[in-house]
Structure formats: structure tokens, C-alpha cells
């Protein structure tokens, strides 16, 4: 499923990061790479952006950016 569809408190493993050049590269460089476990900490009060925990630090992405990331929830 897409990361943007996940609810608060859910966890999953990243399968794929899509999207255009700069944004995708930036996401990957921050450590959101294939095989990484990602935890949805919370959505902002206006439902966008979303706060995630990856590799032990907190990062926020806009929902449209999170929609570029495919996650497998069953694998943990």
C-alpha cells in the first residue's frame, strides 16, 4: 500500500520509492530507502504533512510526497 494511506501508529517496510528526480533523490538520501522500516508517527492537525520515524529520527513529508512511497505492512 502507499505510505500516504497508512494510519497513525502503523508500521511497514519500504518496497519502492517513486517520483521525479530531485524529490526522489532527496527522500532516498534522508535514508528512506528500500527495505527500511517506517513508522507513521502522526498526521499534522490539517491532515498534511505527515510525521514519520525512520532509522531512529523524525521526518515529515507532504502527503503527496508520501504517496510516492510504497510500503509493505505485513513485513516487519
Amino acid at each position: 500500500m502507499l505510505l500516504s494511506e497508512m494510519k497513525e501508529g502503523e508500521k511497514g517496510v519500504i518496497i519502492r520509492v517513486a517520483g521525479n528526480g530531485a524529490l526522489r533523490r532527496r527522500i532516498l538520501e534522508m535514508g528512506i530507502t528500500k527495505g527500511t522500516t517506517i513508522y507513521v508517527e502522526k498526521y499534522a492537525p490539517l491532515k498534511d504533512p505527515v510525521e514519520l520515524i525512520v532509522k531512529g529520527f523524525h521526518i515529515s513529508l507532504r502527503v503527496e510526497e508520501a504517496a510516492q512511497i510504497t510500503v509493505d505492512k505485513s513485513q516487519q
Binding site: 524529490l23 499534522a44 492537525p45 498534511d48 531512529g56 529520527f57 523524525h58 521526518i59 510526497e65
Partner: protein
């Protein structure tokens, strides 16, 4: 004094790694803050003497990587490539070792002498993370030092190691670097050989690094490579196209994506060997704080409270020292007025320089307080949360969440507001924010609204002023969208933003932060304002000999005489009243004279000359002159109107009201003028700041022309539209 050469040490690291704290600890107050050439990224350096060496410490912008996607990264990379610092100290946040190593491996690839500072290991340890520094050092063949920046621990050791490394002979042996996937390594090797063979003596960068970057399709490196290697370079780049195509076929991914994965893979291997994380679920204070501060229900109310508090502190608390400074300036000018002879020089000094510079220096308390608050937001980590909360709303205008603060501050004063745009990382966002912030109606415009709305809209004045404010907000949103679609096109900067753990700010670092920015304001503003004040003064003080239409001094003499006679004849009590009447009567003539004088000075002539420009807006020549002087500072519009309408006491609202009502101005033309004041070119101080912060005359000129055009069109629509509707 050693007399040896200066050792240059660059401090690199992720944002929030504690880099600035370490820089402050090393250099203390011996800092020089400027901009990196050609860009608006802050450059900090400090020269110190330690252990018998002269050390030049350069604080590189905080970055996560060295790709050429942001100015900060380009600046950091170029410094290491072109200025070849003797040592690069990479400051690593120990709680974030994995991500920090991503940047670190890239510095290794450039082949500069790198030293790791494992910072805040105490925090990491309390979270259950232990790092085996010795192992890390052997694995990567890099000296590693533990530091605790906020407690000033390990700094001396760090500098000693840096000196040792700088003085060591260049290391020839193969270092352990990232090993990429097989096909990529093959391509790198092919390319490396090609470069060494065909262009080996033209490039001074490490050839493996050059090969990697070209393979990653790095625009800047490619351009420079062609620039230096010429024809051979172009041939090689053709070869690269073929290599990239093959790799794309092989991996079904762009090579740079595979390489990013490979780097993290390499890092994961190191992490496994050097880092142990105990299984206990850590208690994270930061997460608990965020349960409250970014809470779905109370997150916004708390945010609004903080902003309100910042506003109150900046403008209400700031009002006291502002008053003292105003008092001081007034005192200085009255002392000088009294002690100097009536000369042109005195006029220039008192009415030009002191009045002009004085009108700007009064912003200093506001700026100091505002920057203290912003530094507090930034250093505690709250700024990122504010952006997190506001991003949805700001994104609608095509802006980043952080643009909110400067735009809001615009309601107070545009000078600190535009300076606050510095917190935005993307240059496009920064310029966009700077361009639309002046539409936020600043507090200096309030007196103008009060006089005009109060005079012509009486009971409805409040609503009218509110509507004017609203118009400013709407126009800023529309302009923002327009610029995003045209001039500052391109995708919004991705929002990918770290939410760093909350930290207790260090007072020293807050003060340094605040003072750095304020100092810049004083220095640069001082120069531009000084020149501007002299120009405005010259225009309104010349020509000196004005031919008046009436003999004012004779009239004053006559009044004096007739009063003298009356006073002599009157009783004690009546005398006092008569004296007051005399002062009032002379005041009226004095004002008439001043009014004619200002009409005939160059400023007045320019006002008359440009009044056709304002005619379609329902603004007469007096309004034109007032608006012109408003360029100096918006408050002046009211006092100029006072002078031009020959009001006895230019600052007295009631008298000016009467004069305005009898001047032929209508509610409609008053509204038109208010709209124009709301939108037209920013005041001199703001323009100076725009110039400083955009670093470009072009954007400054654009801002002036754009805002004035919008102002004219909007006022035109109000006035002509209103006339059509029969008002």
C-alpha cells in the same frame, strides 16, 4: 605567534548535528558573518590561535548530502573542492549515526582529510545506543573524536587531532570507501581510466570522485569538466551517456538511485559493526512534548499563543526601548539645533541625517527581540514544528510552512519580517516570501489609515481598515500564486524536513544568533539609509531661496505689532490669553509659509510633476507629495499631509481632519489613497533589506515596480469603479 601558515578547518555536518554550537565554542565572539559569494547563504568563519597555530574555522552550511540540488550543498561542496581546506571536521550526531555517515562517506570520496566528531554521544547513550569509535575509526580509516558540544567537552582534543591531521603527510594508500554494485564499479573504473588518459592533467579533483559524479549525471561537475577538459571532455561525456544507458537497462533504475542505495548499504554494514542498540524501548521526551505541541486539537492554539507572545514581545516590549531611542534622537537633535548656528550643514545634520538614520535605528529593539525569539524557536526545534503545522495552509500559496513567520511579522514591520525569511532553505521560497511580505500592512501605515478612515468613514472606520488589511492579505496570496506560476516556476521545494529532537537552547548561542543578525542590520542599513536620508533631505531642502507669493514675514510682523499693542493695554489675565492667541496666529502664517515652501521645493515640484499619475486615483498633488515622502517611512505621509494642508499642529489629528474634509477629498478618494498606501513601494529601510536579503538589484527593482503597479491598478479600480457605482 608561530608565524606558520594558517590551517583552514571546515566544519561540516547535518543540520541539527550541533555544528553551530561547536563552532560557537571554538570561535566565541571572534566570528565574521557574511554571505558566500553570489548567494544568500550565511557564511561564518573565525580566526583563532590555539596550540601555537593560526586556525581559520569555516562553518559550512548544514546539509544531508553533497548533491547539487540546494545552494547550501553546492556551497559546502565547492568550498571543499575549490578552497581545499586542510581538514574537514564532519560533525556527526551520534543518535543519528546512519544518516550522518551518508554525508561523511561523500566527504571521504572527495579525498579530503576528514576527521569525525561524534557529537552528543551522551544523549545517544541515554537512548541506549553505543558507538565503538575505535572500530569506526579503523573501518573507515578516519580519526574519530568524541565531543559534547553543549558542554564544551572534547573540543580541545578535536582541534589537536585536526592539527595533527593537517600536518600529516598526504595518505597515498587506498582508503576504504563505498563500494558500489558490480556493474556500477565497472563503469566507474572505465570512466576513471578514460578521464586519466584523456583529461588527466586538466582536472585537479580526485579522478574516482569525478567519475562517480559524472556517472550520477551531476550537472555542475559535468559543466566544469567540459569547461576544463574541452573537446576530450565532450567525448568522455558521450561515452558516459552510453554507460548510463547500459546501467539503466541492467538495473531498471537510474544509476544515481542505485548508488544512493549502495551508499546506505555500505553504511548499514558499518553500523552493524560499530553500533549497539539495547533493546529497551526508550523514553523519548521529544515525542512526549510533541504529543502536546503538534496535537490535533491543541497544537494550533498553542502555536497561535507562541506567535502572539512573540508579536507582543517584539512590538509591545520593544516599544519601551524604541521610545528611549526616539527620545535620545530627539534630544540629540535638539541639542545640536540649539548649539549650532543656522547653517545648511546643521539642517542636513539635524533634519537629514539624524532624522533619517534615527527613523531606522528605532527598529533596533524590535529586531533584537524578534531575532531572539526566532533563535529560540530555531534552537529549541520548535521552528520545524511550526512549519509542520502551517505547511498545509502555506502550500496553497505555493510556499513552505516556514514562510508563515516572516509574513506574519510583516504586520509589525517589514524590515525584521524580510530578514526572518532567512530561515527558509530554498532560495525560490525566500525570494517569493520577500516579494509578497510587503503586502502585509505594516504598523507604520496605521496612522495613515486612522487619519483617512477616521475622517471620511467615521463610525465605519474600523470595518474599512479591516477591509484594507484583508485586501493586503488577499493580494499577497494572489501574487504568491502568480509568481509561483510564472517567475519562480518549478516544483515547490520538497517538504522533506527533519523534526529534530527538542533541545534546551544555550543562551550563548541565542545571543550570538541575535547579535549577528542585528549587527548586519545596523551596518548595512546604516549605509543605505544614510545616503537615502541625504537624498530626501536635499530634495526637500532645496532650492533655498524661494520666492513666496506673499510677504509672510511682513504679515507676521504686523500681527506681532497689533498683539503687542493689545497686550500692553490688557489686564494681567487677558495678557496670557492674548499671548497664546498670538502664537496661534503666527503659527497659522508659519504653516502657510511652510506649505508654500514645500510646494516649491524640488520635492514639491516632483510631487506636482507626478500628480497626473495620481489624478486617475483621485489623489491631488498634496497627496502625491505625501506619498513620495512616505517612501522614507510610511508614518511621514500623515505629517507631510499636515504640513501641506497648513495644519497648525501637523501631528494633531483633529485639525488635519477638518482640513482634509474641506479640501475636496471624498470618502472614495480617501479609500483609494489608503489602498495605494497599503500596496505601494516599501519604505526605504525595507527596500534596503530586500536588496540585502535577495542579494540582487533586479529583484529589488522588481519588488518596487511590482508593488507600485499593483497599488496603482488597485487604487484605480477602487476610485474609478466607485465613481461608476455612483459614490
Amino acid at each position: 605567534m608561530s608565524g606558520k601558515k594558517i590551517i583552514t578547518i571546515a566544519l561540516a555536518g547535518n543540520p541539527n548535528s550541533g555544528k553551530t554550537t561547536i563552532f560557537n565554542n571554538i570561535t566565541g565572539t571572534r566570528q565574521k558573518v557574511g554571505n558566500w559569494p553570489g548567494v544568500t547563504v550565511e557564511k561564518k568563519e573565525g580566526l583563532i590561535q590555539k596550540f601555537g597555530y593560526d586556525l581559520k574555522i569555516v562553518d559550512l552550511p548544514g546539509t544531508y548530502s553533497l548533491t547539487p540540488f540546494s545552494i547550501e550543498e553546492i556551497v559546502a561542496r565547492d568550498f571543499v573542492l575549490e578552497e581545499s581546506p586542510d581538514v574537514v571536521i564532519d560533525i556527526i550526531d551520534s543518535s543519528n549515526l546512519e544518516r550522518s555517515l551518508y554525508l561523511a562517506t561523500q566527504f571521504r570520496e572527495i579525498d579530503s582529510k576528514v576527521l569525525f566528531a561524534l557529537n552528543m554521544a551522551d544523549v545517544a547513550r541515554s537512548h541506549g545506543t553505543k558507538i565503538d569509535a575505535e572500530k569506526l575509526s579503523t573501518l573507515l580509516d578516519v580519526p574519530v573524536v568524541f565531543t559534547v558540544g553543549n558542554k564544551n567537552e572534547g573540543i580541545d582534543n578535536l582541534l589537536q587531532e585536526a592539527i595533527k591531521l593537517a600536518e600529516s603527510a598526504p595518505d597515498e594508500k587506498e582508503k576504504r570507501n563505498v563500494k558500489y554494485s558490480r556493474e556500477i564499479e565497472k563503469a566507474i573504473l572505465t570512466l576513471q581510466e578514460l578521464i586519466e588518459e584523456k583529461a588527466g592533467n586538466t582536472i585537479h579533483y580526485n579522478s574516482r570522485w569525478t567519475a562517480i559524479k559524472i556517472l550520477e549525471n551531476d550537472k555542475i561537475v559535468k559543466e566544469r569538466f567540459i569547461g576544463k577538459a574541452g573537446k576530450a571532455g565532450e567525448e568522455i561525456l558521450d561515452e558516459v551517456q552510453a554507460l548510463r544507458k547500459n546501467l539503466l537497462m541492467h538495473y531498471d533504475e537510474d544509476p544515481e538511485i542505485v548508488m544512493t542505495d549502495d551508499r546506505y548499504g555500505f553504511i548499514a554494514g558499518i553500523i552493524k559493526e560499530v553500533q549497539t542498540t539495547s533493546a529497551k524501548e526508550r523514553i523519548d521526551i521529544s515525542r512526549n512534548i510533541d504529543l502536546v505541541l503538534t496535537n490535533r486539537f491543541i497544537g494550533f492554539p498553542i502555536f497561535i499563543f507562541f506567535i502572539w507572545a512573540m508579536f507582543q514581545l517584539t512590538f509591545s516590549l520593544g516599544a519601551y526601548p524604541t521610545e528611549w531611542i526616539e527620545g535620545g534622537v530627539a534630544h540629540l537633535s535638539s541639542v545640536l539645533s540649539g548649539s549650532l548656528n543656522e547653517t545648511l550643514f546643521k539642517d542636513l545634520l539635524v533634519n537629514g541625517i539624524i532624522a533619517g538614520v534615527g527613523s531606522v535605528i528605532v527598529f533596533l529593539p524590535n529586531i533584537l527581540i524578534l531575532f531572539f525569539c526566532i533563535a529560540l524557536f530555531e534552537d529549541t526545534g520548535y521552528m520545524a514544528r511550526a512549519a509542520f503545522l502551517m505547511d498545509k495552509i502555506m502550500h496553497l500559496i505555493g510556499l513552505h510552512g516556514k514562510s508563515f513567520i516572516p509574513m506574519l511579522m510583516g504586520f509589525g514591520c517589514n524590515v525584521p519580517a524580510i530578514m526572518a525569511a532567512r530561515t527558509l532553505e530554498s532560495e525560490k521560497d525566500r525570494i517569493l516570501t520577500i516579494l509578497i511580505t510587503p503586502f502585509m500592512s505594516c504598523s507604520a501605515k496605521i496612522p495613515v489609515y486612522i487619519v483617512l478612515a477616521g475622517t471620511f468613514f467615521a463610525a465605519k472606520a474600523g470595518n474599512v481598515i479591516f477591509a484594507v488589511y484583508l485586501a493586503g492579505i488577499i493580494l499577497s496570496i494572489l501574487s504568491g500564486r502568480l509568481f509561483r506560476l510564472t517567475l519562480l516556476k518549478g516544483v515547490d521545494a520538497p517538504f522533506v524536513m527533519e523534526l529534530p529532537p527538542y533541545r534546551v537552547p544555550m543562551i550563548k548561542s541565542l545571543l550570538i544568533h541575535m547579535w549577528d543578525r542585528s549587527k548586519m542590520f545596523l551596518k548595512k542599513m546604516g549605509g543605505i539609509i544614510l545616503i537615502g536620508s541625504v537624498i530626501v533631505w536635499t530634495l526637500s531642502a532645496f532650492p533655498r531661496n524661494i520666492e513666496y507669493s506673499a510677504d509672510y514675514s511682513a504679515r507676521m510682523d504686523r500681527i506681532n505689532e497689533s498683539f503687542n499693542i493689545k497686550i500692553a493695554a490688557a489686564g494681567e489675565e487677558a495678557k496670557e490669553i492674548l499671548r497664546k492667541e498670538r502664537i496661534a496666529a503666527i503659527g497659522i502664517i508659519q504653516n502657510e509659509m511652510n506649505s508654500e515652501r514645500s510646494e516649491k521645493t524640488y520635492m514639491g515640484r516632483i510631487g506636482k510633476f507626478i500628480s497626473p499619475f495620481f489624478e486617475p486615483l483621485g489623489i491631488d498633488w498634496r497627496g502625491s507629495v505625501a506619498l513620495l515622502t512616505g517612501f522614507f517611512a510610511k508614518e511621514i505621509v500623515v505629517s507631510t499631509l499636515g504640513v501641506l494642508y497648513s495644519v497648525e499642529e501637523p501631528d494633531d489629528g483633529e485639525a488635519l481632519k477638518k482640513a482634509l474634509l474641506s479640501s475636496g477629498m471624498t470618502p472614495l478618494s480617501a479609500l483609494s489613497m489608503m489602498v495605494f498606501v497599503l500596496l505601494y513601494l516599501p519604505c526605504l529601510a525595507t527596500i534596503a533589506v530586500i536588496r540585502k536579503e535577495t542579494g540582487s538589484f533586479k529583484w529589488t527593482a522588481f519588488s518596487i515596480i511590482y508593488s507600485t503597479s499593483v497599488a496603482w491598478i488597485a487604487a484605480f479600480c477602487v476610485f474609478q469603479g466607485g465613481k461608476l457605482l455612483g459614490y
